[in-house]
Amino acid sequence: MNNSFNYTRFSLLVKRQWVENKKLFLMASFALFGLGVIFYSLSTNWEIGQISDVTRPMFLVGGLYIAGSFFTNYLLKDFADKNASTNFLLIPASHLEKLLSVCVYSFFAFPILIFIIFFVTDYFFVHLANSVHASLVLKNHIVNDKSWQENELWYKQMFEKTDDFVYALIGSWFITQTFTMVGSIMFIRWSYIKTAFIGFAVILTLILCSNFVMGLLIGEFDRMPESSKHGFYLQVKPTRDFLEMLIRMAMKFVFTPILLLIAFLKLKEKQV
């Protein structure tokens, strides 16, 4: 018997999440859609039919990060209660399967849902705002209104963004999700607040220390290294760009797997 991963057990765990939470998932989806409508309504200048390009992505990013971390915390809500924890830990499935079943909802189902909600809301409001402007043009007999630009669907703009922007967004989002997972498994009470607090503390520390640390690193590397016994010199002089590139690479490929590993180990060590 495979004690590490079995597809049947894994799919049963995925089904379990759905059976136990489907009503809440549906209610949350409608709530998010409602929030999107409010957000877009407030971001639109109805007098000229123009949607703010600055605030539109805020809904997507806010939804992904804030609602996403809430959602992940909710998926692991069992750990906030001793009896529910007992039930979850004793389901005959491996820790890996249990963690992956959470990942299915957290990494795949949720972003799909939030993108659908965002693009539907965006599509609806773009067409509404454009039609408002068109009716204004007709009503006031305006010809060639150069002060107004037609609202474009945001997904078109998104694909015009640089790779780095999209990758940074995706990378940091995965980090947020896995960080929330670790916090939700580790803490029993107020796990979301505690995780958020630690998260903000880490971000603040990184921001405050980044200049200092980079200065130190570059300063150290800046010195000429000693010669090797073969008699040639190795000249290494990392620049700020190089270090920033390393951090970006770590954000994309390193932090998420490390945090997932920590979540897995915390789950294995969990006692109730």
Binding site: M1, N3, N6, T8, R9, L12, K15, R16, V19, E20, D78, D81, K82, N83, A84, T86, N87, L89, L90, I91, P92, A93, S94, H95, E97, K268, E269, Q271, V272
Partner: protein, 277 residues
């Protein structure tokens, strides 16, 4: 078989739950785990289930290390805690979701138990009383047909008819391959069901014996006056005088009274340990 060797467990430095605990539980028995509140009954069950890890020593269940919580171990072990979690779904949905994890789960058996407890599969857990929820979970636990069944205070919250139904059902599912461990402080609820008896107190096992052995070594009787004080291990007032526990030196035949046994063990632990060692 459940084998516990030199097990030590504590909740921080202040509270030691067990120190060098040794215990062997064999297949085909319904063990009664008795002890005062805080004696460590629930902790021991949680340890066997793999929910708590020891600071020292080992615990194996059919050669599995419970703390690894491997699926092959978990599908042969069911733990029903005293306080339990039920999701906000119908009983039928619960069964459809959780039963496939247990290869020996019997739907027919489950239906019979629900019928016995006068519950319907279409009822939602949120609409049931605590006792009804417990009955549904007891039915589920027994239907999993796992080799190891651990129950922590299963009769708490059950009404009087349900307690006798519970005894009847447990007696019917006890097989030679199965180990059932029931922890309780309501010994009368499980009288004539649990055998052997394990009594825990002060981080150690005071008594681990079957009822035959207990009846052989101890005598339980009702007397009007207590005369032979040296031989009396424990006495308490009863309606007809005194209920006493004495050493069974004259090989008398008496029925084991679990409550008297429990009180006698706590009142005279050294003597009881000597008798059963």
């Amino acid at each position: 078989m459940i084998q516990i060797k030199n097990l030590s467990f504590d909740y921080g430095k202040q509270k030691t739950v067990f120190r060098n605990l040794n215990l062997t539980l064999t297949d085909g028995n319904v063990y009664g785990l008795l002890g005062k509140n805080g004696a460590g009954k629930s902790s021991l069950l949680r340890r066997i289930a793999g929910l708590l890890f020891p600071t020292e020593g080992t615990c194996t269940v059919d050669n599995f290390s419970p703390q690894e919580r491997l699926p092959s171990f978990l599908q042969e072990m069911f733990f029903l805690p005293e306080e339990f979690h039920t999701p906000p779904v119908k009983i039928s949905e619960y069964v459809n979701t959780y039963a496939p994890f247990y290869p020996n789960f019997s739907r027919e058996q489950f239906k019979d138990y629900l019928e016995e407890f006068q519950l319907s599969e279409n009822e939602k857990f949120t609409e049931l009383s605590l006792g009804q929820k417990k009955k549904a979970l007891i039915g589920f636990a027994l239907s999993t047909n796992t080799k190891v069944l651990l129950m922590d205070e299963p009769t708490n919250g059950l009404d009087i008819p349900s307690k006798s139904q519970f005894r009847k059902i447990i007696a019917s599912v006890a097989t030679d391959e199965r180990i059932i461990v029931i922890s309780t402080h309501q010994v009368r609820d499980l009288d004539s069901l649990i055998d052997p008896i394990i009594i825990l107190d002060n981080s150690e096992v005071l008594l681990h014996a079957n009822t035959e052995e207990i009846a052989e070594k101890l005598c339980f009787k009702n007397v009007t006056t207590v005369t032979n004080h040296e031989q009396v291990l424990y006495s308490e007032h009863s309606l007809r005088g005194f209920s006493i526990v004495t050493e069974n030196t004259d090989k008398e035949v008496s029925k084991t009274d679990l409550e008297l046994l429990f009180n006698a063990t706590l009142a005279n632990p050294t003597k009881i340990k000597q008798l059963f060692d």
